[in-house]
Amino acid sequence: MSRLLFFLTIMLSLFSVNIYAFEMDDIKRHGFLSQGYMKTDGNNYTEGQDDGSLDFREIGINFTYSPAPVISMGFQLFAFEYGHLGERKIKLDWVNINWQIQDWLCLKAGLIKIPLGLYNETRDIDMLRTFIFLPGSVYNEVWRDLYANMKGLSVYGYLPSGFSYSLQAGSIHIDDDSGYYQTLKIFLNNPEITDIRDSYIAALQWDSSFGLKLKTTYNYYELSIIGQLKFIPSFPETAINYESCETSTFSAEFGFKNLILAAEYLQHKTDVSALITMSPAVEILQTGGTKSHGYYLSSTYVANEWFQIGIYYNRDFLDKQFYQNIEKESNNDLAFAVRFDINDNLIFKCEYHDIDGTLHIYPELNADGIKEKTKMFAVKFTYSF
């Protein structure tokens, strides 16, 4: 990282950049605070939803400074709680420096957000959308940490005719309290997980002049996990090596006056090898893979300055070719949302979900059994400044 900052300093001195004189007032501060309530009629996606839970909140604050028209820098602190996930731990969400060397060549370095679909980079910012929950097929609530941010470098730029691109490389840290790790703990005893060292991301976007936006993203990473399967007590320790994890999205958004239509498709594919150590002398190597798909269609309408309404249909499912013997292969979610902008700083949202399928529901969080259908209700207040 220090080499990178040195490089940026050298580059800044080579290029003529108009640097402003610094004043404390030039540091801008923005933030948000939200508190929600969620209740389901039985199934739990995270802890406590069947009884109704207030453990549903987010807080974030960022500080930004622009020393020159083409340079900005800053950081954002963020904490969230979603049932048993998040636990209100304050973390650095991003800290980076941006430099628009030329409009087609911009650099962003530090801890940077990960592009995935249309909205992943700002998924934690509730006030920027109509819905409380983004469609889970693309924006899985439990895996949000895995796609939150990476330490590395992004090269991006704006090309003629409305095209823009982004190429990103770096490493991803996975905390023990992340949703991904907590999900692993459902299946494995004391899983050990290494940070993702090599992650590569590419994104291409086209913004038309008539309101249509098309975007595709591709994320690649490798991941190693060591653990012992919980369901078979005598099962030996297994090293699971995700030799490649690929997530691809294809997205479209169309805005016409106050109506916004969006559709996104996601495919997640992995190549896995598992090394099972039966004894110091006997090791068994199993290879295979996983594949899942998801898509959603959404429509939001901004009726006026204080009222918005939205609806989406979301479906995600496991690829039958890869999961022939697994019953819970899909999740179908029909959601309705209303949003009230009480004033410039305060919003209130109300949302209802009619969910068919048990794909993201685990027995460990549902001691009373799992129902095939779930109804979920959520409300949320967000204050921003």
Partner: protein
């Protein structure tokens, strides 16, 4: 029944009032007197005010500024950015919260806006056309 004529002068007066009022509400693009261009295409203006275009070449950087007058801002955003004011606001907040920029400066009064643009190299903004004075330069839309 005798024909009733509307006096010609009255028609002219009404037309003039209409033309004046519609003219009065029209925005114009203004920039610092040292600004690199005298005319800019609508596409370039759109990219400039969305933060996609900040360079006109080496050492020619652009600083955008917004005018909070509701009518003028709405008119500008609809015509040039081709978004609603709400969509425009969200666009900039997306940039801010994903760590890819700072919000543009915005001004409640024309005096403050003119003062900022006239004193900031590379500054560009929009204002009611009748408020333009000698401290800034008017940029034609190609």
């Amino acid at each position: 029944m005798p024909k009733r004529y509307i006096p010609f002068n009255a028609i002219i007066l009404v037309l003039c009032t209409f033309i004046y009022s519609s003219h009065a509400e029209e925005f114009a693009i203004i920039a610092n007197k040292t600004f690199y261009k005298n005319s800019i295409s609508q596409e370039d203006l759109r990219d400039i005010f969305l933060g996609k275009k900040k360079n006109f070449g080496v050492n020619e950087q652009i600083v955008i500024s917004l005018f909070e007058d509701k009518k003028i801002h709405t008119q500008f955003v609809h015509k040039i950015i081709r978004k609603t004011p709400n969509q425009f606001k969200i666009w900039w907040k997306l940039q801010l919260y994903k760590g890819q920029g700072v919000l543009p400066v915005s001004f409640k009064t024309k005096e403050k806006l003119l003062e900022y643009i006239s004193s900031t190299n590379g500054a560009i903004g929009y204002i009611n056309s009748e408020f333009i004075n000698d401290s800034v330069k008017r940029i034609e839309i190609k």
